[in-house]
């Protein structure tokens, strides 16, 4: 919806003359004006159109304004529709309060001041337009960020694969050739033999470096064998690199999940452990995954560190400075229809993610 796009304004009154006068007043707003002569007709029109503002008479036969407002509000789609009451009677504070309780945004008494009515309707029409624009932008942003995450996963997978297929294989052959040469090392001069031994050691280190980079980019066991071994392997490597002891408790009955779910869970675990290492000061961490009910999985990563500080927590809850990590986790979970909860105090932090269990369409090792 662009800024100039017209919105619908619904006018409800049982007296045609009044409807006509509203129409004259509101005409210069240049929006779409829709007329309804009864509460029933108004409801019908509401269901068929997207209405920004409802302007309605309080006293109408059959279904009066208050009743109509109540019915409108009950419908989730109309929760944000602005309702403005117009009334020549029912002018007490109690009446007005009753109107606001039923979800009115304004209460105008007769005689109407045309400029005032126009100004009020115009404000709510603009608000509606802006809300719609925001919703559209929000949706676009969501889908963009989901695409970015998916592209990043894919790109990492590709680089890891390339690294394995090119450099990794070359280093493997180097290692084998060194092994062959080592079998006849006694035929070399002592310095040449020593150089060969050093080269063998260097190749071993090189291979280990490549392996670590490739594993951090994309866990090789994830696609080939599954989430649980991939997490265990990652936790072992993390423990070795960081010196943080990691307990892994994974429910063995979890089978293969949809690839998107597996990579998301893996990345969340990876992110959590990185946070434990960077921020918590904890010497231990625990990863647990279990089916929390029939269709849900719960993932929990806990540490026994110093917790998330007050300042950091404030910026986290205001959403101003989440860092890519936390909002990345939230985005991944939103995509899967899951939720994220963080509990933290002086004794440690627990991150809990609940994810709908989507199993792999084709089970088995690919």
């Amino acid at each position: 919806m662009n800024e100039q796009q017209k919105v619908n304004i619904l006018m409800v009154d049982d007296q045609p003359a009044k409807l006509l006068s509203y129409e004259v007043i509101l005409k210069e707003l240049n929006e779409n004006l829709i007329k309804a002569h009864s509460g029933r007709e108004a409801l019908d029109l509401l269901l068929k159109n997207e209405i920004a503002v409802v302007l309605m008479d309080v006293s109408m036969p059959e279904l009066d304004g208050f009743e109509l407002a109540e019915m409108i509000r009950q419908h989730p789609r109309f929760q944000k529709t602005a309702i403005i009451f117009i009334s020549a009677v029912h002018l007490t504070d109690v009446d007005q309060l009753k109107a606001y309780q039923r979800g009115a945004v304004d209460y105008i008494s007769v005689p109407i001041v045309p400029e005032l009515l126009r100004a009020k309707v115009s404000v709510f029409a603009d608000l509606h337009r802006k809300t719609r624009q925001m919703e559209v932008l929000n949706r676009e942003l969501r889908s963009l960020s989901a695409r970015l995450i998916a592209m990043q996963d894919e790109e990492r997978r590709r680089i890891a694969r390339d690294l394995h297929d090119s450099v990794g294989q070359l280093v493997a052959t180097l290692s084998m050739n060194n092994g062959l040469a080592l079998m006849q090392v006694e035929k070399l001069t002592p310095p040449a033999g020593e150089a060969l031994r050093q080269n063998t050691e260097l190749v071993k280190q090189l291979s280990k470096e490549i392996r670590t980079i490739s594993h951090l980019l994309h866990p090789p066991l994830l696609d080939e064998i599954g989430l649980l071994p991939a997490i265990k392997l990652f936790a072992d490597g993390f423990a070795e690199r960081s010196g943080i002891q990691v307990a892994v408790e994974l429910s063995p009955e979890l089978g293969r999940l949809a690839p998107k779910v597996e990579i998301s869970i893996f990345r969340i675990v990876q992110e959590c452990l990185t946070n434990v290492y960077r921020h918590s000061g904890s010497k231990t961490a625990a990863i647990k995954i279990w089916p929390s009910d029939e269709k849900m999985l719960t993932l929990q990563v806990c540490d026994q560190g110093k917790g998330i500080g007050v300042e950091r927590r404030a910026s986290m809850s205001s959403g101003t400075n989440n860092g890519v990590g936390l909002s990345g986790m939230r985005e991944r979970l939103r995509e899967l229809g899951g939720t994220l909860e963080i509990q933290s105090n002086g004794n440690g932090t627990t991150v809990t993610a609940v994810i709908p269990e989507t199993t792999a369409a084709t089970v088995g090792v690919s």
């Binding site: 394995h164 280093v171 290692s175 084998m176 066991l221 080939e224 064998i225 392997l233 072992d236 690919s366």
Partner: protein, 133 residues
């Protein structure tokens, strides 16, 4: 009787180095080679090897799945998984499907010893069994 190897790896350089390493032993020969899992199963059936050396990460079917197919045909066939991704987790998984050993491409030095141990002192029961089938 000589020991016949089937070498499976998607990388030609790796297969070449493996050939050189294995052929350093005059009792060992290359029965066949394959560059992916599907091909490996086919070559396995025609080349009658005594031992299979299998890459793990290959396009299409991976080494574990390939091993599973080969072991369906010859349940006692000794298979060595030869991989850059050697780890305790992968080893557990590999052993559970019947692979005998996992050798790291990072550190290939123990490979010859592992193969000799797998072949054992007596002569090649695996080849016999395959013939019997």
């Amino acid at each position: 009787m000589r020991t016949r190897f089937l070498i499976v790896d998607d990388n030609e350089l790796v297969r070449q180095s493996l050939r050189t390493v294995l052929q350093a032993n005059p009792e060992w020969e290359i029965a066949g080679e394959a560059s992916n899992g599907q091909e490996a199963v086919e070559v396995f059936q025609t080349s009658r090897p005594n031992l299979v050396i299998l890459d793990f990460q290959m396009p299409g079917m991976n080494g574990i799945e390939t091993a599973r197919r080969i072991l369906e045909i010859a349940p006692a066939m000794p298979i060595v998984l030869f991989t850059q991704h050697a780890s305790l987790e992968l080893e557990k998984h590999a052993l559970s499907v019947g692979i005998r050993s996992v050798v790291s491409k990072t550190d290939t030095f123990p490979m010859v010893g592992i193969i000799e141990a797998l072949l054992g002192p007596s002569e090649l029961p695996a080849a016999k069994e395959q013939k019997d089938k």
